[in-house]
Structures are given as structure tokens and as C-alpha cells.
């Protein structure tokens, strides 16, 4: 499958919730970028990645415009999933399709112009790296848990959609193994935008978009300046991970940690 070559995606400003123009000139996303989007709930983080997913042309609530390689996006990448360079995993952790997991992935392969063959099996195997309870091909999509659905959608984005840009809305939320997801995302070398409240995910990104009241209010590029903080947060996160897994396994944490 041939995607149109994406050099960059540009987001042009819209308006904040109070109608004032957003205080930035443009946001540029290039291949290999990792960007986190932070801000309080309701500040417009999901709306920002949604604008990118639908290639907003001042036709979303934010009034933003999204350009591909500096120009209005060509119709075929907006409308034909087989040419769409973006995969988004939204916060919705329920799938409404009345299909079995294998059928769902098979139909998604068809929509993306892929031969399902091995892809379905590989996708389920990858999803099972991220979730505690294994997904099987014959399971109904509607019967999967939130974490299983999220795991399957991430694996689907990497192997079925197989797009150069991935948008992830709060991966830390569904109880999946986020460290394994992060490792796989790095391995696949995609531009990734994380909407996140997780300090570790935020600090791992090269750039941090800060949002308030529906608007992008700042874009931070820490360079190496946060290296010390990242080290400390990584240690805290690893410790919390161990504690979380002990609790999940049914242990009583007596006598301190």
C-alpha cells in the first residue's frame, strides 16, 4: 500500500472557547516527532487531535485548519482510508461493531486495502503484549474490556492502519502496559502525539503542547533540560508499576513497600 509521502502536517490556529484567536502561528508535526499534549480536562486536548484526524478545514468546533505538506490536504487522503496517513486511538474504550475480533480486523484490512492473511494474527499477537488478559480471534468486539479494546486499537494502528502518524488519547487510562506500548511505538518509528496526564509519557516526548480553555497556549521544547526530572520520574514510575502489578496479582501490601 502506497501512502502519499507526508513531509509535515501543519495546524493553523482557530479560536479558544471564549472566541479569542489562539496565540500561535502554526504547529508543525514532522516524521519521527513525539509530542505530548497537556492541560486540564476540558482544555481541548482531544479536540486538537480530532482536528488532525479529520483534517479540519475550519469545519470543527475549534475553527482550526490542518495542512498536509503545507497545502490543503488532497481529497483522497481525507476520504479514502487506504490513503489516510493518520491513525487515532480515541478515549472510547468500547467498540460497538457486532463482529468477532478477527472479522473486525479483516474488514479493517479491506478498508485499508490490505490482504488480511497474516496481518490479523500478528495484530492480535501484538495487542496481547499490551493487555493482561489475552484477546482471541473469535471473541466478540462488544465483549472486550476497555483495556483489551484499547490494546487491539493500538496494535491495529501499528499493523493494519500502518500510518506514519499516530494520535493517542490517554494511553495510561485503560490499565494497559503503557511501557510496552511506548517501547513498540519507538521501535516502529512513527510520529506520535500523546494526549496525556501522565508525567512519564509527557516527559518522554520531545515537545509539549500546553492547552487551556480550548486553545494552544504554549509549546515547550525542553531539549535536555528535563533530563534529571525524566530520570527521577522514570524511577518513580517503575516503582509504581511494580506496586500496581502486585495489587493486580491479589497481594496484600503489608509492612510497607
Amino acid at each position: 500500500m502506497e501512502h502519499i509521502r507526508i513531509e509535515k502536517i501543519t495546524v493553523l490556529p482557530g479560536t479558544a472557547k471564549n472566541g479569542s484567536p489562539e496565540p500561535f502561528d502554526e504547529l508543525v508535526i514532522r516524521a519521527g516527532d513525539t509530542i505530548s499534549i497537556v492541560g486540564p480536562t476540558g482544555s481541548g486536548k482531544s479536540a486538537l487531535i480530532n482536528d488532525i484526524e479529520v483534517f479540519a478545514q475550519q469545519d470543527t468546533v475549534t475553527g482550526r485548519t490542518v495542512l498536509v505538506n503545507g497545502e490543503a490536504p488532497p481529497e483522497r487522503i481525507c476520504r479514502d482510508p487506504a490513503n489516510k496517513p493518520i491513525a487515532m486511538i480515541a478515549q472510547t474504550s468500547k467498540c460497538l461493531a457486532d463482529l468477532r475480533a478477527g472479522q473486525f480486523l479483516g474488514m479493517h484490512c479491506a478498508a485499508r486495502g490490505l490482504d488480511p492473511g497474516q496481518t490479523v494474527k500478528e495484530t492480535i499477537a501484538l495487542a496481547n503484549e499490551f493487555t493482561g488478559e489475552a484477546i482471541r480471534e473469535e471473541m466478540r468486539m462488544t465483549a472486550l474490556s476497555g483495556g483489551q479494546t484499547r490494546s487491539l486499537m493500538i496494535a491495529d494502528a501499528l499493523l493494519v492502519s500502518n500510518t506514519p502518524i499516530i494520535l493517542l488519547d490517554e494511553i495510561e487510562n485503560a490499565g494497559i502496559f503503557k511501557d510496552r506500548v511506548m517501547a513498540r511505538l519507538r521501535e516502529f518509528d512513527r510520529a506520535v502525539l500523546f494526549v496525556t496526564h501522565d508525567p512519564f509519557v509527557a516527559l518522554l516526548s520531545d515537545r509539549r503542547i500546553v492547552m487551556r480553555n480550548g486553545a494552544v497556549v504554549d509549546v515547550l521544547e525542553p531539549g535536555g533540560a528535563e533530563a534529571d526530572a525524566l530520570g527521577e520520574v522514570a524511577a518513580v514510575d517503575a516503582r509504581l508499576h511494580t506496586i500496581r502489578e502486585r495489587i493486580r496479582a491479589g497481594e496484600l501490601l503489608t509492612g510497607g513497600l
Binding site: D59, T60, A97, D98, H108, A111, V160
Partner: protein, 235 residues
């Protein structure tokens, strides 16, 4: 005058799509709107108040709503012409998914919610297969992968359909629908308008396959736009 016929299951977002059309074409077109429903409808009053356009409704009562639409369409075209409209939007009740209310010399738009089951397009196959455009609404409520799978389900009914995905409340992505409406030719001969497909066989002349629009061409249980609330047995 251009004719748009909007069909789709109940609560699919047909009126939300109509609102976006009226918003887009306000000032450029004089629109008129007809809602066909069974026992209750409010869309005509809402749209008349919101956009200041001539709008009305017709209740089908005991008659099939899509059949009612066919019966009254010739009258409705005359009414819209009297109102000096250059765009008539007819919205179906959305109950009978077997019927295809689309006619020749119109743009047929089927509205389907992305939250439908994967087999829903097959169940409504005739309503989709005879449409020019499928507008998939509520895409903000499903994942991108589901949206793409649902799109594939529609394409299995009719591979070549013009498929437009939207959050109709916001109007996202509807630029492609606006373009299709602009490209739709005006009616050139109202008297020659006929249904595109044959509705299911039944007990009335329309069920039996007579495609002419307007009650004058039918017999048995017929209905006019003006006397829509009672049975009228023809001349």
C-alpha cells in the same frame, strides 16, 4: 429548482444534516422544506423559526410514510415553486428501510449513524443502493478503526457510493456534501419525475410498481398535500 431527498433511519441525524445544508446555502438559495412523518414531527416548525424558510410537514397516518412522500411530492414541488424556492429539501420519516424514496432529477442522500451495527447497511440495502450520497453521522462517537470498518460495510452494499463522514452537529467534513449539492442539476421537467427503484410489492398502486409521482396518477388509497390528514379516494 433543485430537489434533495434525505432518507435514513430514525435518529440518524437527518435533520442535523439538513440544518448544515440550510446554514451553508442561506443567502445563496431560497430553500423550502417538507418533512414526512407518521404521527408527530417538529422539524418543520424548528427549521422555519431558525432559518425563516417556508417549511411544512405531512403525516402519513395509516399509509406508509415513504408512499405518502411519493403521493404528495408533485404537490410539494408546486408548493415550493409558489414559494419561489430554488431548493426543495424533502426529509423522509425514516421508518421503512426497504423503500427508496429517491426520484429522478434529484439528489438522493442517505444518512446513516456510525454507531449502527456492522450489518445495518445490508439490512437497509435498497435505501443505500439507490442513493447518490451516503452521509455517515456521529463519527465522533466511534473509534477511527470502527469508522473505517463501517465505511467498508456500506461499500459492500454499493462500492461506488459517494461516502461522506461527519459529526453533523459541528458540520465536520460536510464540504463534500455541499459540493455534491452544488453539482446537482436543477429539475428540468417536473412532470417526468419518477421513482428510481420499485418499492416492495403490496396493496397500492405504488406498491405494485407504478412510479409516477402525484396522487393524480394513482388510485385506491391516495392523498393530497392539502388534505393529508384524511383518506381521499381519488377521482
Amino acid at each position: 429548482m433543485r430537489l434533495l431527498i434525505v432518507a435514513g433511519p430514525p435518529s440518524a441525524g437527518k435533520t442535523a444534516v439538513v440544518r448544515q445544508l440550510l446554514r451553508q446555502f442561506a443567502g445563496r438559495c431560497r430553500a423550502a422544506y417538507l418533512k414526512i412523518d407518521v404521527v408527530q414531527a417538529f422539524e418543520d416548525e424548528e427549521l422555519a423559526a431558525e432559518f425563516g424558510i417556508p417549511a411544512r410537514k405531512v403525516y402519513s397516518g395509516d399509509l406508509c410514510p415513504d408512499h405518502t412522500g411519493i403521493m404528495v411530492l408533485a404537490d410539494a414541488l408546486a408548493w415550493a415553486a409558489e414559494e419561489q424556492a430554488d431548493l426543495l429539501i424533502v426529509e423522509s420519516a425514516g421508518l421503512c428501510l426497504r423503500c427508496t424514496p429517491y426520484t429522478t432529477q434529484s439528489l438522493g442522500i442517505v444518512v446513516l449513524p456510525a454507531i449502527s451495527g456492522t450489518n445495518a447497511p445490508l439490512k437497509m440495502a435498497p435505501m443505500i443502493a439507490f442513493a447518490d450520497v451516503a452521509v455517515v453521522t456521529k463519527t465522533d462517537l466511534v473509534s477511527q478503526a470502527e469508522k473505517e470498518v463501517f465505511r467498508e460495510a456500506i461499500r459492500r452494499v454499493t462500492p461506488g457510493i459517494d461516502l461522506i463522514e461527519t459529526n453533523a452537529v459541528e458540520g465536520t467534513g460536510l464540504r463534500y456534501l455541499f459540493r455534491a449539492v452544488e453539482a446537482c442539476p436543477a429539475i428540468d421537467d417536473p412532470a417526468s419525475i419518477v421513482l428510481r427503484g420499485a418499492p416492495p410489492l403490496g396493496v397500492c398502486t405504488i406498491c405494485a410498481g407504478k412510479k409516477e409521482i402525484g396522487w393524480r396518477h394513482h388510485f385506491g388509497v391516495v392523498r393530497t398535500l392539502e388534505a393529508a390528514d384524511e383518506f381521499y379516494r381519488g377521482d
